[in-house]
Protein backbone atom coordinates (compact mmCIF):
# COMPACT_ATOMS: atom_id res chain seq x y z
CA UNK A 1 0.00 0.00 0.00
CA UNK A 2 1.63 3.18 -1.14
CA UNK A 3 1.00 6.86 -1.11
CA UNK A 4 1.67 8.91 -4.19
CA UNK A 5 2.09 12.49 -3.05
CA UNK A 6 1.92 15.12 -5.74
CA UNK A 7 3.45 18.54 -5.17
CA UNK A 8 2.67 21.77 -7.00
CA UNK A 9 2.88 21.17 -10.74
CA UNK A 10 3.20 17.38 -10.41
CA UNK A 11 0.95 14.82 -12.05
CA UNK A 12 0.73 11.09 -11.65
CA UNK A 13 -1.44 8.00 -11.93
CA UNK A 14 -1.78 4.59 -10.29
CA UNK A 15 -3.77 1.40 -10.78
CA UNK A 16 -2.36 -0.37 -7.72
CA UNK A 17 -5.15 -1.31 -5.33
CA UNK A 18 -4.39 0.07 -1.88
CA UNK A 19 -2.54 3.09 -3.20
CA UNK A 20 -3.63 6.60 -2.30
CA UNK A 21 -3.00 9.50 -4.66
CA UNK A 22 -2.71 12.62 -2.56
CA UNK A 23 -2.01 16.34 -2.71
CA UNK A 24 -1.71 18.74 0.23
CA UNK A 25 -3.10 22.21 0.81
CA UNK A 26 -4.52 23.36 -2.50
CA UNK A 27 -4.90 27.12 -2.31
CA UNK A 28 -5.66 28.71 -5.64
CA UNK A 29 -4.27 25.58 -7.31
CA UNK A 30 -6.73 23.12 -8.83
CA UNK A 31 -6.53 19.34 -8.65
CA UNK A 32 -7.68 17.68 -11.87
CA UNK A 33 -8.74 14.10 -11.21
CA UNK A 34 -9.23 11.41 -13.86
CA UNK A 35 -10.87 8.14 -12.84
CA UNK A 36 -10.92 5.37 -15.42
CA UNK A 37 -13.46 2.71 -14.40
CA UNK A 38 -12.39 0.31 -17.17
CA UNK A 39 -8.76 -0.01 -16.07
CA UNK A 40 -9.35 1.15 -12.50
CA UNK A 41 -6.74 3.83 -12.83
CA UNK A 42 -6.67 7.05 -10.84
CA UNK A 43 -4.77 10.09 -12.12
CA UNK A 44 -4.28 13.58 -10.77
CA UNK A 45 -2.56 16.81 -11.77
CA UNK A 46 -1.87 19.67 -9.33
CA UNK A 47 -2.30 22.74 -11.54
CA UNK A 48 -0.89 26.08 -10.33
CA UNK A 49 -1.54 28.52 -13.17
CA UNK A 50 -3.86 28.77 -16.18
CA UNK A 51 -1.52 29.48 -19.06
CA UNK A 52 1.97 28.20 -19.96
CA UNK A 53 2.71 31.11 -22.29
CA UNK A 54 4.33 33.01 -19.38
CA UNK A 55 7.17 30.49 -19.11
CA UNK A 56 7.58 27.82 -21.78
CA UNK A 57 10.75 26.45 -20.17
CA UNK A 58 8.92 25.74 -16.92
CA UNK A 59 6.08 24.14 -18.88
CA UNK A 60 8.57 21.82 -20.58
CA UNK A 61 10.11 20.83 -17.29
CA UNK A 62 6.87 20.61 -15.27
CA UNK A 63 3.88 20.33 -17.61
CA UNK A 64 1.54 19.69 -14.67
CA UNK A 65 2.08 23.28 -13.54
CA UNK A 66 -0.11 24.93 -16.20
CA UNK A 67 -3.66 24.04 -17.17
CA UNK A 68 -2.96 23.92 -20.92
CA UNK A 69 -0.01 21.53 -20.59
CA UNK A 70 -1.25 19.52 -17.59
CA UNK A 71 -4.30 17.95 -19.24
CA UNK A 72 -2.43 16.45 -22.25
CA UNK A 73 0.39 15.30 -19.92
CA UNK A 74 -2.01 13.60 -17.54
CA UNK A 75 -3.89 11.96 -20.43
CA UNK A 76 -0.60 10.64 -21.84
CA UNK A 77 0.29 9.29 -18.39
CA UNK A 78 -3.09 7.53 -18.14
CA UNK A 79 -2.57 5.79 -21.50
CA UNK A 80 0.45 4.03 -19.96
CA UNK A 81 -2.11 2.23 -17.80
CA UNK A 82 -4.17 1.23 -20.82
CA UNK A 83 -6.62 4.14 -20.72
CA UNK A 84 -8.05 5.66 -23.89
CA UNK A 85 -5.77 8.37 -25.26
CA UNK A 86 -8.65 10.78 -25.83
CA UNK A 87 -9.95 10.12 -22.33
CA UNK A 88 -13.00 8.17 -23.50
CA UNK A 89 -14.93 6.65 -20.64
CA UNK A 90 -13.00 8.55 -18.00
CA UNK A 91 -14.70 10.31 -15.11
CA UNK A 92 -13.36 13.81 -14.47
CA UNK A 93 -13.58 15.65 -11.15
CA UNK A 94 -12.12 18.98 -10.07
CA UNK A 95 -11.35 20.50 -6.69
CA UNK A 96 -9.43 23.41 -5.17
CA UNK A 97 -9.23 26.80 -6.85
CA UNK A 98 -9.90 28.79 -3.69
CA UNK A 99 -9.81 32.57 -3.80
CA UNK A 100 -8.87 35.10 -1.14
CA UNK A 101 -11.73 37.39 -0.14
CA UNK A 102 -11.43 39.83 -3.02
CA UNK A 103 -13.74 41.81 -5.26
CA UNK A 104 -10.91 42.76 -7.58
CA UNK A 105 -10.37 40.32 -10.41
CA UNK A 106 -6.56 40.19 -10.33
CA UNK A 107 -6.25 37.84 -7.36
CA UNK A 108 -8.93 35.42 -8.58
CA UNK A 109 -6.32 32.94 -9.79
CA UNK A 110 -8.33 30.02 -8.45
CA UNK A 111 -11.24 31.02 -10.67
CA UNK A 112 -9.00 31.52 -13.71
CA UNK A 113 -7.37 28.12 -13.15
CA UNK A 114 -10.75 26.39 -13.03
CA UNK A 115 -11.96 28.17 -16.17
CA UNK A 116 -8.81 27.37 -18.13
CA UNK A 117 -9.01 23.71 -17.12
CA UNK A 118 -12.65 23.42 -18.17
CA UNK A 119 -11.88 24.99 -21.53
CA UNK A 120 -9.08 22.57 -22.22
CA UNK A 121 -11.09 19.58 -21.07
CA UNK A 122 -13.83 20.72 -23.43
CA UNK A 123 -11.37 20.80 -26.34
CA UNK A 124 -10.67 17.12 -25.60
CA UNK A 125 -14.39 16.41 -25.53
CA UNK A 126 -14.32 15.99 -21.77
CA UNK A 127 -16.15 17.64 -18.90
CA UNK A 128 -16.20 17.36 -15.11
CA UNK A 129 -19.06 15.43 -13.52
CA UNK A 130 -18.31 16.76 -10.05
CA UNK A 131 -16.46 19.72 -8.64
CA UNK A 132 -15.65 21.36 -5.35
CA UNK A 133 -14.16 24.67 -6.38
CA UNK A 134 -13.73 28.20 -5.06
CA UNK A 135 -14.57 29.47 -1.56
CA UNK A 136 -11.82 30.71 0.67
CA UNK A 137 -10.14 27.75 2.32
CA UNK A 138 -7.37 25.37 1.45
CA UNK A 139 -8.11 21.74 0.64
CA UNK A 140 -6.13 18.51 0.97
CA UNK A 141 -7.23 15.76 -1.41
CA UNK A 142 -6.78 12.02 -1.12
CA UNK A 143 -8.02 9.43 -3.63
CA UNK A 144 -8.12 5.74 -2.90
CA UNK A 145 -7.30 3.70 -5.99
CA UNK A 146 -9.23 0.64 -4.74
CA UNK A 147 -12.50 2.48 -4.29
CA UNK A 148 -12.00 5.45 -6.61
CA UNK A 149 -13.16 7.52 -3.67
CA UNK A 150 -12.09 11.15 -3.28
CA UNK A 151 -11.80 12.54 0.24
CA UNK A 152 -11.24 16.22 0.93
CA UNK A 153 -10.15 17.84 4.15
CA UNK A 154 -9.59 21.33 5.49
CA UNK A 155 -8.71 22.38 9.07
CA UNK A 156 -11.77 23.09 11.18
CA UNK A 157 -14.15 21.23 8.86
CA UNK A 158 -15.27 17.61 8.90
CA UNK A 159 -13.86 15.63 5.94
CA UNK A 160 -16.10 15.33 2.90
CA UNK A 161 -16.34 13.27 -0.29
CA UNK A 162 -16.41 14.34 -3.90
Amino acid sequence: MGQIVLGVGDYGASNTPGDDVKTFALGSCVSVIFLDPKTRTVGMAHVALPDSSINKAKAGEKPGYFADTAIPALLAQMTKFGCDKRGKGMVVKLCGGANVMDTNDTFQIGKRNALAIKKILWSFGMGAVAEDLGKNYSRTVSISVSAGQITLSSPGKPNWQL
Binding site: V8, K58, M101, F107, I109, Y137
Partner: protein, 292 residues
Protein backbone atom coordinates in the same frame (compact mmCIF):
# COMPACT_ATOMS: atom_id res chain seq x y z
CA UNK B 1 -13.23 26.48 25.44
CA UNK B 2 -10.26 28.81 25.07
CA UNK B 3 -9.63 31.62 27.51
CA UNK B 4 -8.85 35.27 26.95
CA UNK B 5 -5.28 36.52 27.30
CA UNK B 6 -5.01 39.61 29.51
CA UNK B 7 -2.69 42.50 28.68
CA UNK B 8 -0.41 41.39 31.55
CA UNK B 9 -0.30 37.83 30.29
CA UNK B 10 0.62 39.02 26.82
CA UNK B 11 3.53 40.94 28.33
CA UNK B 12 4.59 37.78 30.19
CA UNK B 13 4.47 35.77 26.98
CA UNK B 14 6.58 38.36 25.18
CA UNK B 15 9.08 38.39 28.04
CA UNK B 16 9.43 34.62 27.90
CA UNK B 17 10.60 34.78 24.27
CA UNK B 18 14.40 34.81 23.96
CA UNK B 19 15.90 38.02 22.58
CA UNK B 20 17.31 38.03 19.07
CA UNK B 21 21.05 37.49 18.85
CA UNK B 22 22.97 40.80 18.77
CA UNK B 23 24.06 40.22 15.18
CA UNK B 24 20.53 39.37 13.98
CA UNK B 25 19.20 42.44 15.73
CA UNK B 26 21.88 44.72 14.29
CA UNK B 27 21.44 43.26 10.81
CA UNK B 28 17.74 44.10 10.96
CA UNK B 29 18.55 47.65 12.07
CA UNK B 30 21.21 48.25 9.48
CA UNK B 31 19.46 46.69 6.49
CA UNK B 32 16.27 48.66 7.03
CA UNK B 33 18.13 51.97 6.66
CA UNK B 34 17.85 53.25 3.11
CA UNK B 35 21.46 54.45 2.97
CA UNK B 36 23.19 51.26 4.09
CA UNK B 37 25.86 49.41 2.16
CA UNK B 38 26.74 45.76 1.73
CA UNK B 39 29.98 46.54 3.57
CA UNK B 40 27.94 47.24 6.71
CA UNK B 41 26.43 43.77 6.43
CA UNK B 42 29.84 42.17 5.85
CA UNK B 43 31.30 43.88 8.91
CA UNK B 44 28.46 42.68 11.12
CA UNK B 45 28.70 39.09 9.96
CA UNK B 46 32.48 39.06 10.25
CA UNK B 47 32.21 39.84 13.96
CA UNK B 48 30.07 36.79 14.57
CA UNK B 49 32.12 33.63 14.14
CA UNK B 50 29.15 31.28 14.33
CA UNK B 51 27.19 33.22 11.74
CA UNK B 52 30.24 33.42 9.48
CA UNK B 53 30.60 29.65 9.61
CA UNK B 54 26.92 29.16 8.84
CA UNK B 55 27.01 31.54 5.86
CA UNK B 56 30.05 29.79 4.40
CA UNK B 57 28.46 26.41 4.87
CA UNK B 58 25.29 27.54 3.14
CA UNK B 59 26.97 29.22 0.17
CA UNK B 60 28.91 26.01 -0.42
CA UNK B 61 25.86 23.78 -0.02
CA UNK B 62 24.53 21.78 -2.93
CA UNK B 63 21.61 24.17 -3.39
CA UNK B 64 23.83 26.82 -4.94
CA UNK B 65 25.78 24.35 -7.05
CA UNK B 66 29.10 26.21 -7.04
CA UNK B 67 31.98 24.49 -8.77
CA UNK B 68 34.64 26.07 -6.58
CA UNK B 69 34.16 26.53 -2.86
CA UNK B 70 33.88 30.07 -1.57
CA UNK B 71 36.11 30.56 1.44
CA UNK B 72 35.97 34.31 1.95
CA UNK B 73 33.02 35.72 3.88
CA UNK B 74 32.99 38.89 1.73
CA UNK B 75 32.51 36.88 -1.42
CA UNK B 76 29.95 34.62 0.23
CA UNK B 77 27.84 37.61 1.26
CA UNK B 78 28.12 39.32 -2.13
CA UNK B 79 27.11 36.08 -3.78
CA UNK B 80 24.13 35.30 -1.54
CA UNK B 81 22.87 38.85 -1.17
CA UNK B 82 21.84 40.51 2.03
CA UNK B 83 18.30 39.12 2.17
CA UNK B 84 19.63 35.59 2.51
CA UNK B 85 22.10 36.70 5.18
CA UNK B 86 19.29 38.33 7.16
CA UNK B 87 17.22 35.18 6.67
CA UNK B 88 19.99 33.00 8.05
CA UNK B 89 20.63 35.27 11.04
CA UNK B 90 16.95 35.58 11.98
CA UNK B 91 16.26 31.91 11.34
CA UNK B 92 19.16 30.81 13.55
CA UNK B 93 18.43 33.31 16.25
CA UNK B 94 14.67 32.89 16.58
CA UNK B 95 14.48 29.41 15.08
CA UNK B 96 12.34 27.99 17.84
CA UNK B 97 9.59 30.53 17.23
CA UNK B 98 9.53 29.87 13.49
CA UNK B 99 9.83 26.12 13.77
CA UNK B 100 7.19 25.70 16.43
CA UNK B 101 4.14 23.58 15.75
CA UNK B 102 1.16 25.96 15.65
CA UNK B 103 -1.33 23.63 17.30
CA UNK B 104 -3.82 26.49 17.71
CA UNK B 105 -4.02 26.62 13.91
CA UNK B 106 -3.61 22.85 13.35
CA UNK B 107 -0.38 23.60 11.55
CA UNK B 108 2.69 21.36 11.68
CA UNK B 109 6.13 22.39 12.95
CA UNK B 110 8.05 24.21 10.21
CA UNK B 111 4.92 25.44 8.41
CA UNK B 112 5.32 28.96 9.79
CA UNK B 113 8.92 29.24 8.57
CA UNK B 114 7.90 28.04 5.10
CA UNK B 115 4.98 30.46 5.01
CA UNK B 116 7.23 33.30 6.14
CA UNK B 117 9.89 32.45 3.59
CA UNK B 118 7.28 32.30 0.80
CA UNK B 119 5.82 35.62 1.96
CA UNK B 120 9.30 37.17 2.02
CA UNK B 121 10.07 36.01 -1.53
CA UNK B 122 6.63 37.06 -2.77
CA UNK B 123 6.81 40.53 -1.15
CA UNK B 124 10.18 41.05 -2.78
CA UNK B 125 8.81 39.90 -6.15
CA UNK B 126 5.79 42.21 -5.79
CA UNK B 127 8.16 45.14 -5.26
CA UNK B 128 10.49 44.31 -8.15
CA UNK B 129 7.76 43.36 -10.65
CA UNK B 130 5.60 46.40 -9.91
CA UNK B 131 8.56 48.78 -9.74
CA UNK B 132 7.35 50.59 -6.62
CA UNK B 133 9.81 52.66 -4.63
CA UNK B 134 10.45 50.20 -1.80
CA UNK B 135 13.65 48.33 -1.07
CA UNK B 136 13.17 44.73 -2.26
CA UNK B 137 15.52 43.52 0.47
CA UNK B 138 13.47 45.28 3.14
CA UNK B 139 10.28 43.74 1.73
CA UNK B 140 11.94 40.33 2.05
CA UNK B 141 12.94 40.88 5.69
CA UNK B 142 9.53 42.26 6.57
CA UNK B 143 7.88 39.25 4.96
CA UNK B 144 10.05 36.93 7.01
CA UNK B 145 8.90 38.51 10.28
CA UNK B 146 5.28 39.46 9.54
CA UNK B 147 3.54 36.51 11.26
CA UNK B 148 5.78 36.12 14.29
CA UNK B 149 2.77 36.82 16.55
CA UNK B 150 1.20 33.50 15.59
CA UNK B 151 3.74 31.56 17.61
CA UNK B 152 2.90 33.69 20.65
CA UNK B 153 -0.85 33.11 20.65
CA UNK B 154 -1.03 29.67 19.05
CA UNK B 155 -0.94 27.71 22.33
CA UNK B 156 -3.84 29.77 23.63
CA UNK B 157 -5.89 29.05 20.51
CA UNK B 158 -5.55 25.32 20.98
CA UNK B 159 -8.86 23.54 20.38
CA UNK B 160 -10.46 26.61 18.82
CA UNK B 161 -10.08 25.82 15.12
CA UNK B 162 -13.59 24.49 14.51
CA UNK B 163 -15.09 27.45 16.42
CA UNK B 164 -12.98 29.98 14.53
CA UNK B 165 -13.92 28.49 11.17
CA UNK B 166 -17.59 28.32 12.17
CA UNK B 167 -17.49 31.95 13.31
CA UNK B 168 -16.20 33.33 10.02
CA UNK B 169 -18.31 31.00 7.90
CA UNK B 170 -21.55 32.18 9.50
CA UNK B 171 -20.67 35.87 9.41
CA UNK B 172 -19.02 36.83 6.15
CA UNK B 173 -17.94 40.22 7.50
CA UNK B 174 -15.49 38.48 9.81
CA UNK B 175 -12.08 37.12 8.91
CA UNK B 176 -9.61 35.03 10.90
CA UNK B 177 -8.19 38.12 12.60
CA UNK B 178 -11.61 38.83 14.10
CA UNK B 179 -11.90 35.20 15.18
CA UNK B 180 -8.54 35.36 17.00
CA UNK B 181 -9.53 38.53 18.78
CA UNK B 182 -12.90 37.18 19.85
CA UNK B 183 -11.38 33.92 21.05
CA UNK B 184 -8.30 35.05 22.98
CA UNK B 185 -8.59 38.85 23.10
CA UNK B 186 -5.70 39.61 20.74
CA UNK B 187 -5.06 38.83 17.12
CA UNK B 188 -1.64 37.69 15.90
CA UNK B 189 -0.73 41.14 14.54
CA UNK B 190 -1.12 42.76 17.98
CA UNK B 191 0.83 39.99 19.68
CA UNK B 192 3.57 40.23 17.05
CA UNK B 193 3.74 44.00 17.49
CA UNK B 194 4.37 43.60 21.23
CA UNK B 195 7.27 41.28 20.42
CA UNK B 196 8.56 43.72 17.80
CA UNK B 197 8.68 46.39 20.50
CA UNK B 198 10.46 44.08 22.93
CA UNK B 199 12.96 43.17 20.24
CA UNK B 200 13.32 46.87 19.40
CA UNK B 201 12.77 46.18 15.73
CA UNK B 202 12.96 49.16 13.38
CA UNK B 203 9.65 51.04 12.96
CA UNK B 204 9.01 49.87 9.41
CA UNK B 205 9.21 46.21 10.45
CA UNK B 206 6.99 46.78 13.47
CA UNK B 207 4.45 48.54 11.22
CA UNK B 208 4.41 45.57 8.84
CA UNK B 209 3.85 43.14 11.68
CA UNK B 210 0.99 45.24 13.10
CA UNK B 211 -0.77 46.19 9.85
CA UNK B 212 -0.07 43.42 7.36
CA UNK B 213 -3.77 42.50 7.18
CA UNK B 214 -4.98 46.10 7.18
CA UNK B 215 -2.31 48.07 5.31
CA UNK B 216 -4.55 51.13 5.01
CA UNK B 217 -3.99 51.69 8.74
CA UNK B 218 -0.20 51.81 8.43
CA UNK B 219 1.51 55.17 8.58
CA UNK B 220 1.74 56.82 5.17
CA UNK B 221 5.53 56.61 5.20
CA UNK B 222 5.61 52.79 5.24
CA UNK B 223 2.28 52.04 3.62
CA UNK B 224 3.58 50.78 0.27
CA UNK B 225 5.92 48.38 2.06
CA UNK B 226 3.04 47.11 4.18
CA UNK B 227 0.91 46.61 1.05
CA UNK B 228 3.73 44.64 -0.56
CA UNK B 229 3.86 42.26 2.41
CA UNK B 230 0.06 42.12 2.52
CA UNK B 231 0.00 40.93 -1.09
CA UNK B 232 3.00 38.64 -0.49
CA UNK B 233 1.18 37.02 2.44
CA UNK B 234 -1.88 36.34 0.27
CA UNK B 235 0.28 35.00 -2.55
CA UNK B 236 1.96 32.59 -0.11
CA UNK B 237 -1.43 31.31 1.05
CA UNK B 238 -2.74 31.00 -2.51
CA UNK B 239 0.31 28.95 -3.38
CA UNK B 240 -0.66 26.41 -0.72
CA UNK B 241 1.71 27.62 1.99
CA UNK B 242 -0.43 28.93 4.80
CA UNK B 243 -0.30 28.00 8.46
CA UNK B 244 -3.24 25.62 8.75
CA UNK B 245 -6.73 26.74 9.63
CA UNK B 246 -6.40 30.43 8.80
CA UNK B 247 -5.06 29.95 5.29
CA UNK B 248 -6.90 32.10 2.70
CA UNK B 249 -9.29 33.27 5.40
CA UNK B 250 -8.37 36.96 5.44
CA UNK B 251 -9.62 39.99 3.56
CA UNK B 252 -7.60 41.39 0.73
CA UNK B 253 -7.43 45.17 1.07
CA UNK B 254 -8.95 46.45 -2.17
CA UNK B 255 -7.07 49.74 -1.92
CA UNK B 256 -3.83 47.99 -2.85
CA UNK B 257 -4.32 49.19 -6.43
CA UNK B 258 -3.71 52.78 -5.22
CA UNK B 259 -0.21 51.75 -4.11
CA UNK B 260 0.87 48.76 -6.16
CA UNK B 261 -0.07 48.14 -9.76
CA UNK B 262 -0.07 44.53 -10.83
CA UNK B 263 -2.26 42.80 -13.39
CA UNK B 264 -3.22 39.12 -13.69
CA UNK B 265 -0.26 38.28 -15.89
CA UNK B 266 2.29 39.89 -13.57
CA UNK B 267 0.69 38.09 -10.65
CA UNK B 268 1.05 34.77 -12.47
CA UNK B 269 4.72 35.53 -13.09
CA UNK B 270 5.19 36.43 -9.42
CA UNK B 271 3.59 33.17 -8.29
CA UNK B 272 5.81 31.16 -10.59
CA UNK B 273 8.96 33.00 -9.48
CA UNK B 274 8.02 32.40 -5.85
CA UNK B 275 7.87 28.65 -6.50
CA UNK B 276 11.23 28.66 -8.28
CA UNK B 277 13.02 30.82 -5.70
CA UNK B 278 11.49 28.96 -2.76
CA UNK B 279 12.71 25.63 -4.06
CA UNK B 280 16.21 27.07 -4.23
CA UNK B 281 16.19 28.71 -0.80
CA UNK B 282 14.21 26.20 1.22
CA UNK B 283 16.89 23.57 1.40
CA UNK B 284 19.65 26.04 2.14
CA UNK B 285 18.64 28.84 4.50
CA UNK B 286 16.08 26.72 6.26
CA UNK B 287 17.84 27.72 9.48
CA UNK B 288 15.48 26.32 12.10
CA UNK B 289 15.43 22.78 10.68
CA UNK B 290 19.11 22.16 10.42
CA UNK B 291 21.70 23.60 12.74
CA UNK B 292 25.46 24.05 12.31
Amino acid sequence: MVKQISQEELQEIVKSVPMLSPSASQLLQVTSRADHDLVDVINLVRNDAKLTARVLKIVNSAAFGLINNITSIDRAISYLGERIIVGIAVGDSAGKLFEKELSGYESAGGDLWKHDLRTAIAAREVVTQSGVDVSPELAFTAGLLHDIGKSLISDYLQGSVADAVEMITTDEDLDYLDAEEKLVGFDHTRAGYELAKAWQLPDELAEVILHHHEPANASEEYRTLVYAVHLGDNIAMMGGFGTGSDSMRYKLDQQYTDYIKIGPKTLATIMLNVDIEFEKLEGSINGPGEKN
